[in-house]
Symmetry: C2
Subunit: 130 residues, 2 copies
DNA sequence: TTATTTGCAAATTGTTTGCAACGGT
DNA sequence: ACCGTTGCAAACAATTTGCAAATAA
């Protein structure tokens, strides 16, 4: 499934999709990416966009963030958090140091093995507070 | 919309749905609640279950937690966090004190007003690690 | 009585999949 | 030439909605 995997091909579709998100900080949805890519490859299908996004995620070139019922894609791989505006649904990157304590499981019980965590902040963004 | 609102009615459907989740700690989905309620009211429709769950959420009697593409309902209202098993998708309540610092916005920029936050831990649960 | 709620079915939204044609390597 | 990838359309899953009949107050 990964493009680093044997027999993966470099298609124009994959390349254009990557170029369209690789520096994007707005956390677009598949649909928004589809709209942008269609300007460059008008006949591309939404299915192809989804398949290539999955591929980029499998290759660890993108992260996925669920918000509401849709997935948002994020090319920023370093550990970071998100602030989500409850008014406009925009997602912002937050470099907020989450306490190491979360990892070192001061958990109620040692029954769980924690492998990752995610902190999301909700509120109103600058754009919406004016 | 709220049942505390003027003209709200106490229907058998609402009462049964509430009884079925009010002490439940398993974070069921609407479908799972539907299955349980159907044993008591066989002719209830899924739409009615959804509408009553919305009502309970609007009335602050339930919290919603998104996981994957579905909403999970949680009658526990006190601030708490969740541990989600990546193997079986079960959701557990975690009483983990999140640092107050998260609220008092030591944020990169004062452009945001944070009104809430949510921390989710991912890993493997006891049931799945054996 | 009468406005809210229900059951049912159809509509919506976001995403995935089957398949024949296409195109990298 | 081989087999991964595409476009298209249909399938899906979770949730919402329109509407006439039912029912709580």
């Amino acid at each position: 499934m990964s493009s680093t995997r044997k027999n993966a091909r470099n298609t124009r579709q994959l390349e254009v999709i990557w170029n369209v998100i690789k520096d994007d900080k707005s956390h677009p949805t598949a649909d928004q990416i589809y709209d942008r890519v269609r300007k460059l490859i008008p006949k591309i299908s939404l299915g192809t966009v989804y398949r290539n996004l999955q591929k980029l995620v499998a290759d660890d070139r993108l992260q996925v963030l669920m918000h509401g019922r849709s997935q948002h894609f994020d090319p920023l791989l370093e550990r970071h958090q998100h602030f989500i505006c409850e008014n406009c649904d925009r997602v912002y990157d937050i470099f907020f140091e989450t306490p190491g304590a979360i990892d070192s499981a001061t958990l109620p019980d040692q029954v769980f093995k924690v492998s990752s965590h995610q902190l999301a902040l909700y509120g109103t963004c600058k754009n919406c507070s004016s």
